[in-house]
């Protein structure tokens, strides 16, 4: 089919200003929504389009109208869990259309059609729907059949919106209630291997990719399009460590896909076999041994954290598809996870975040922790942080008790000594394999965190001189026996 408009990714982000707009659909003044639902193949006449209400050619220039776009999809691999994933692509695909602006999603959609597009011959929603359906089928070949119903009749949009709101609610519930233990397979993301060859992202219902872009549902959809592609399914295998989130299937997969760079990953652990990081994580977590707690800082915050380091400096220590203990790159969505670093105490171990990040994820912080996590307004240095944590009686002060199993995983600052905690006496006696590539840290033990190399102090104090590339010209040396 020939379209009277160009279709290209170059129109993504195209803004249509009010004076250039022919009509507005949905948006701040009119009801609107978009919906993708699965159906059985015999219900659908492929590529069929139905319009309820006035078409573009019947609309008055400069006015706003109600707007609903309902797609039904069918195919052997189509399933309910894919509906929201496919639905979100409506935004991407429609933005490829020249002179057609699509903003937001679900019941917030806001569309504008430009005057110049209408001038060039865009006069029917059928043209839009057909183009969108074509793109759906080209990009997602598991969609074998698709049809579309667009509605611009106010009453009909309002009526259907009520039903649709229920579907959205059900989906949200499903997303929130689906956990790692409920599924048979996780998904990998090896996209970043194009830049970080050993990085393997493991995407589970309780752990979004660390760039924030791919959820378990996204991974599932992508795996259906191409099982050998970048989001291959990872059979979970046997559960090795429930609390840390370790599975034999994940370990095997990680070993193979990282080219043997590492062979164990615990999905919800900060200190022990943490997930690897590529370079594009949204947030970096950092351990502060002085308070035995973890801070988080996001990409947009460029002031130093209480440990004196900026996001950029800390990020420079991790990444590259390596397991780096003491730092962890995550996606912002991981803060929503009920398993958020649960092995190491989760929110109870979290002591600091920039205010803007804390506000963004505030609803996911347990109520009792909301006031106990410092921001830059409370603490800019380790000393200020210590004061703050003492004042609010943060769990790290007295020792963190893990929610999941009630285990006390840190000793707290009882003695408040400047020296390191004793190396022996880990609280848990989990067997840990020797892995030379990484520094082992067990719960209860304060890891020696070394952002910069520290020279070995000379025994007995004093200064140790390391002389490099120095020419010492000594005319004569007299070597004599030392008196014993």
């Amino acid at each position: 089919m020939e379209f009277p408009f160009d279709i290209s990714p170059m129109y993504e982000g195209e803004r249509i200003r009010k004076q250039d707009m022919y009509v507005e659909l949905g948006g701040p003044t009119q009801p609107g929504f978009e919906l993708v639902i699965s159906a059985s193949p015999d219900e659908i006449e492929d590529m069929n389009f139905t319009l309820i209400g006035p078409d573009i050619s019947e609309m008055e220039e400069g006015k706003a109208y109600p707007y609903a776009m309902i797609y039904r999809i069918a195919g052997k691999q189509v399933e309910k869990d894919l509906e929201p994933v496919v639905e979100r692509r409506n935004h991407d695909f429609q933005n490829y259309i020249e002179g057609y602006m699509h903003l937001n999603q679900r019941y917030d959609i806001w569309i504008r059609i430009s005057k110049s597009a209408v001038k060039k011959g865009l006069n029917s929603f059928e043209q839009i729907a057909k183009a969108t359906m074509m793109l759906f089928k080209n990009e997602l070949p598991f969609i074998e059949k698709i049809d579309a119903t667009y509605i611009t009749d106010r009453e009909e949009v309002e009526k259907r919106l009520q039903e649709t709101m229920k579907i959205y609610e059900e989906r949200d519930l499903r997303t929130l209630s689906l956990h790692d233990e409920d599924v048979e397979e996780f998904y990998s993301c090896t996209l970043c291997q194009s830049f970080a060859p050993t990085n393997v992202c493991v995407i589970a219902p309780d752990r979004v990719s660390l760039c924030g872009a791919i959820t378990w549902f996204d991974g599932r959809a992508s795996a259906k399009v191409d099982p050998e592609g970048p989001n291959a399914p990872i059979p979970k295998g046997e559960l090795v460590d429930e609390i840390g989130g370790e599975y034999t299937g994940v370990n095997e997969f990680a070993k193979e896909r990282s080219g043997g760079e590492y062979d164990r990953i615990k999905l919800h652990s900060f200190f022990e076999f943490p997930h690897t990081s590529c370079g594009c994580f949204e947030v970096i977590g950092f351990y502060m041994p002085e308070v035995d707690g973890i801070g988080w800082v996001h990409r947009g915050y460029d002031e130093p954290a209480p440990n004196g380091l900026t996001f950029s400096t800390m990020a420079g220590q991790t990444g590259g598809g390596k397991q780096v203990v003491g730092f962890l790159g995550i996606g912002i969505g991981y803060f929503k996870s009920p398993k958020f670093i649960q092995a190491d105490g989760g929110w109870k171990r979290t002591v600091w975040m920039p205010k803007s990040l804390k506000e963004r994820v505030l609803e996911f912080i347990p109520d009792e922790m909301k006031d106990k996590i410092a921001t830059e307004e409370d603490a800019g240095t380790i000393d200020e942080l210590k004061e703050f944590l003492k004042k609010v009686n943060h769990p790290v002060v007295t020792g963190v008790v893990r929610d999941i199993d009630g285990a006390k995983i840190t000793d707290g600052w009882v003695e408040e000594k400047e020296e390191e905690a004793p190396i022996e006496a880990p609280a848990e006696t989990g067997k840990v394999q020797e892995t030379p590539a990484m520094q082992q840290i067990q719960p209860g033990q304060i890891p020696v965190f070394t952002p910069q190399p520290v020279m070995n102090p000379v025994s007995g104090g004093g200064i140790k001189l390391v002389i490099k590339n120095a020419k010492i010209n000594i005319e004569k040396i007299v070597v004599s026996k030392k008196d014993s």
Binding site: Y96, Q193, G259, T310, G316, P453, I472
Partner: protein, 796 residues
Amino acid sequence: MALNLKGSFVLDELKNVQITIGKILEEGEEWDEPVGPTPMPGIADLRKWDHTLLERYEPFYAPMQDFCTLCTMGPCDLSSNKRGACGIDLKTAKARLVTIACSIGAAAHTAHARHMLDYVIEQFGEDTPIDLGPDVNVEAPNIRTIIGVRPRTLGDLKVALEWAEREIVKVLHSTHIGNEESLIDYESKAMHVSMCDHIGMEVADIAQIVAFNYPKAEPDTPLVDAGFGVVDRTKPVIVVVGHNVMYARPVMDYLEEQGRLDEFEITGLCCTVHDMTRYNARAKVFGPISYQLRVIRAGLPDIVISDEQCIRADLLEACSLMGIPLIATSDAAMRGLPDATDWPVEKIVSALINGEVPGVFLSDPEKIGQVAPIVAEEVFRKKDRTKLFFKSDDEFREEIAKCTQCMNCVFTCPHSLRIDQGMAHAQKTGDISKLAELEDRCIACMKCEQACPKKIKIINVIMQSNLQNLYAKTGMMRVGRGPIQDTEIRKVGQPIVFGQIPGVIAPVGCVNYPDLKDDLREIIEEFLRRKYIVVTSGCHAMDIGMLKDEEGKTLYEKYPGNFDAGGLVNVGACVADSHIAGAAIKIANIFAMRPLRGNYAEIADYALNRIGAVGFSWGPYSHKAASIATGFNRLGVPVVVGPHGTKYRRAYIGKPWKKEKWWVYDIKTGEKTYIEPAPDALLISVETKEEAIVQLAKLTIRPNDTGMGRQIKLTHYLELSKKYLGRYPDDWPIYVRSEADLPLRTKDELLKILEDEHGWKIDWEKKKILEGPIRPLDPGFNPTLVEEVFEKYSRK
């Protein structure tokens, strides 16, 4: 007798011993990154990498002449495979000339860096810390990678600069008669000396950012006025010209101290003014070298301060004719003027004002700061304001009347502008519009005037014909920001991998455009609209600020200055190009944690196989442009040059039909794998803007693109080819690894073409390619051309 003692010793006494320690480091200052294979490389150390590159991207020579005239045994005719008196053949002779050109370019930036570094160390101390802002952790990617040190202070830059100086001398030595026999080894030397150039640039720019407190990787730097018509002619005008801001900068300081900055116009040409705006956004930009004669012959300056590089060699003469005093400041261009550095300020001022000398050589920046405003004010007071390109309209018409249409001017013009037709039309009809049309294409090189038997002031005629438009040339340039932030690089990682950002286009370089300058804006905007990241510097960055669209807006006003999709990033003057190379290096460091220290080949190999960045110089002419481009080539970044770029005499063009040339080691499978020819050239010249656009889009393709990345790159390549050349390119199928690579909209159409015209096997039900591609798409593909890199990562 030699004594070899091992173990612990106790020294009871040290007597009459002198221990010289070069440097004392405090705990934690030492860089723990292990040293790679090639810190401070000599000519031979990266030769293997060059040979690997040049095996694939064979040098292609386009001699401007077949004779060699470099020694007294010549001239030697090298045509028809003849050798010269020294034994050299034509290709090797051309490779030698390229090496010489790159050496000149490298020497220019490196000497610039030397002047700058010595000065700022003297002024600010060698312990001045290098701080490029909170989001720049990898402060000197080129120095880290090539030299193998992590500079903490201005003083630390010395070691890098000394290395570059040493290597440039060695390469220059190799161009003496009777040295190299292999053209590939000359090309390797050209690459080596061009890598020195990138070090010189990085030292110079870091030094000035730190010492003069320029913007530090800030995306939203101020917009400054740019264009011929930007100055307020009711104020004295101080004009700086050249590439090294250290001499003229104190003018700003002096006037600021005096509280008189408002009473003057501080403007300039070329990179010096670029850097003046970075120092103080009150400075205004006239434009690049093509505006030097325009500005001087219009009588706009009340004083001109020149320093070095890309300044007309007839500057003094041009200024003298217009009664404009000149202060030459750099020992690179003393212009035959008396050295007034030791004269008292009053003596210099009076000599210039009274016309005792047409100009002075003055290398003391502080004195320049004091002298220039006083002289400018005095010249301004006395100046005849009516004098423009011509005293009167009659004089202008008389000049036109002299033309006999002999066409000597046309034949000598670099762009063959039809001056004769403009003159004839004006003579016959009185209508000067055809002459006016030439103005925008004219680079004001003055060759026409030299050729004219009637001694017509052709430049003045052209300028006068378009006077109104000339003065209406006012635009905005975003001030150079310096480096790219580490965090910006992290931020674009995901959209690059996901194909939302197709690549990085870097328009840098000079003004020898083939046609209308506005083409540059069109080319760049095409990529900005398509969400490429555009990074610019030097003359191109200035010209972009002078070109407006139909709505009167420059690209700087339309697109943001951050390193992100659709961002237009001005890094600054030529020497800031080092930050563009630096950004590529940082990608390898930040995403793959590839160690930088002395690890050049691995990083360049990473860039070649993964980073979709392409350099672009639409009007290259200088030797610096040659070395900048060749330096990018060694780093694995392809460069597209405009048609005059062929006069560099050499291109690096791959031959896609020679399948055996296109291979890599795949670390994942441990096998040597044949790949699609991506990128298919390292240095290539194009003739038209249409060709430029299509070529740039193609050269962002890399073997390691994800499916989504390749899909978006192919989409733009095909769309742009169709839009500008009217058809799909011939070679698009070789870039298809699987159906995931195909553009979304035209997937069916393209699958059909692959089946019908190329014999590929397609499963139409699943819309899957079954047979046809050179290799399948493998998400874990891990390519390298470097044997050592292959071995290093395969061992695990």
